[in-house]
C-alpha cells in the first residue's frame, strides 16, 4: 500500500517510528542521488544523506498535514550539499582554481593523458568528473536541471535564487562543461 506524504504525517502523530521509517524508505534514494552527483563520493553522499534526514526528522512533527514534503526535502538536501562543500577546505580550494579556467583544463587533461584512456573514451566518467570540477552553485544548478529534470523556475525557488541568476549559472556551467568535454576529445566535431 502506498501512503501519501500527508498520510505519513498523520501516522507520525500515532507512531513516530513507523512514519520516519516510511519517510526514509521513500526518499533515501532521491536524497542520496542528488548528494552523490554533487559530492562525487559514496562516503560524503552518505554523510549528507544522514544530515538531511536528521534535519527532516527534527522538524517533521511540526509540519501540517497538507504540507508537501518533496520541495522541502529538496531544499534541505541542496543546503546540506552546498554547506558540505563550504565546510571542506580542500574542495573550496579546488573550486577556486576552476574559476581560473585554464588551470583546471590542464589538471583534467593531464589526468586523462595516458594512451589507454584516450582510446577508452568513457563519456560517462569524463562527464561525471567534469561536473565535479564545476563551482558549487553552477554544479547544483546543472544537477537539478539535467539529473532531476527540474524547470528553471523550480530550481530558482528551491535554491532560493532569482531566475536570472539560475539561468546565468546554467549557461556558465554548460559552457564550461562543453569546453572541458571538447578538450577531452570525446566529440569529433568538424566544421
Amino acid at each position: 500500500m502506498v501512503v501519501s506524504d500527508s498520510g505519513i504525517l498523520k501516522i507520525h502523530n500515532k507512531d513516530k517510528r513507523q512514519a520516519l521509517e516510511l519517510l526514509y524508505e521513500r526518499y533515501k534514494k532521491y536524497v542520496y542521488t542528488i548528494a552523490f552527483h554533487y559530492v562525487g563520493t559514496k562516503e560524503d553522499a552518505l554523510d549528507i544523506t544522514q544530515e538531511v534526514f536528521l534535519k527532516l526528522f527534527k522538524v517533521v512533527g511540526e509540519l501540517k498535514d497538507e504540507f508537501s514534503l518533496l520541495p522541502y526535502i529538496k531544499k534541505i538536501t541542496i543546503n546540506k550539499c552546498l554547506n558540505h562543500i563550504r565546510d571542506r577546505k580542500e574542495a573550496v580550494s579546488l573550486n577556486k582554481t576552476t574559476e581560473e579556467g585554464e588551470e583546471m583544463h590542464c589538471f583534467l587533461a593531464s589526468e586523462e593523458n595516458t594512451e589507454n584512456s584516450v582510446h577508452y573514451r568513457d563519456t560517462r566518467r569524463i562527464l561525471e568528473k567534469a561536473i565535479q570540477t564545476l563551482p558549487s552553485l553552477e554544479k547544483m544548478a546543472i544537477i537539478l536541471r539535467h539529473v532531476n529534470g527540474m524547470k528553471y523556475e523550480e530550481i530558482a525557488k528551491t535554491m532560493n535564487l532569482p531566475l536570472g541568476t539560475v539561468k546565468t549559472y546554467l549557461y556558465r556551467g554548460r559552457n564550461y562543461l562543453k569546453e572541458l568535454l571538447k578538450n577531452q576529445g570525446i566529440w569529433e566535431v568538424s566544421g
Partner: protein, 143 residues
C-alpha cells in the same frame, strides 16, 4: 575571429526557452556564421550527453539501508526496537537476499503454484481420510 553573438542564445535555442524574435535572428545568423554553427553542434552534443539518463545512473550502496539505524539512534523520542526484533529483521533480509536468485530460475514459480494448490487440497483429503478411519472403526466395533 570570435563572433559577437551572445552564446547564451544558442543554449536558449536548444532548451526551447528562446524568444521567438530572437530565434529568427539566431537562425539567420547561423546561416552565415561558421563559428556559431560549430558551437551549436558542440552544445547539441553536450545536451545530448546531459539528457542521457545512463550517464547519471547511481549505484545505491548497501550502507544506505544501514544508515537508517544510525540516524534513528540519533533521533530523540523513538520507541526503541528490541534486540530480538533487530535480529529477526536481519535474518529476514539475509533470507530474502539469499533467495533472490530463485526469481530467475525457470520453473520455480510453477512449482510454487503447484505446492500452494496442493496445500489447499490437503485439508479436504485429511477430512476424507479421517472419515473413512472413523467408519472403519465403527464397523470394527460393531463386530
Amino acid at each position: 575571429m570570435s563572433c559577437k553573438l551572445n552564446a547564451e542564445l544558442l543554449q536558449e535555442l536548444l532548451e526551447g526557452t528562446i524568444d521567438p524574435v530572437e530565434r529568427i535572428f539566431v537562425e539567420e545568423h547561423l546561416k552565415t556564421c561558421h563559428q556559431c554553427r560549430k558551437d551549436l553542434t558542440e552544445f547539441k552534443l553536450l545536451f545530448w550527453e546531459l539528457e542521457d539518463k545512463f550517464n547519471f545512473e547511481v549505484y545505491i550502496p548497501e550502507e544506505l539501508n544501514q544508515l537508517k539505524n544510525v540516524i534513528f539512534d540519533k533521533v530523540d523520542g523513538l520507541t526503541p526496537v528490541s534486540p530480538s526484533k533487530m535480529i529477526m529483521e536481519q535474518q529476514k533480509s539475509v533470507v530474502k537476499k539469499s533467495s533472490t536468485f530463485l526469481d530467475f530460475v525457470p520453473g520455480v514459480k510453477e512449482t510454487e503454484k503447484i505446492l500452494k494448490n496442493g496445500a489447499k487440497a490437503t485439508p479436504k483429503a485429511l477430512v476424507k481420510a479421517s472419515r473413512s478411519v472413523i467408519r472403519g472403526a465403527k464397523i470394527l466395533l460393531a463386530r
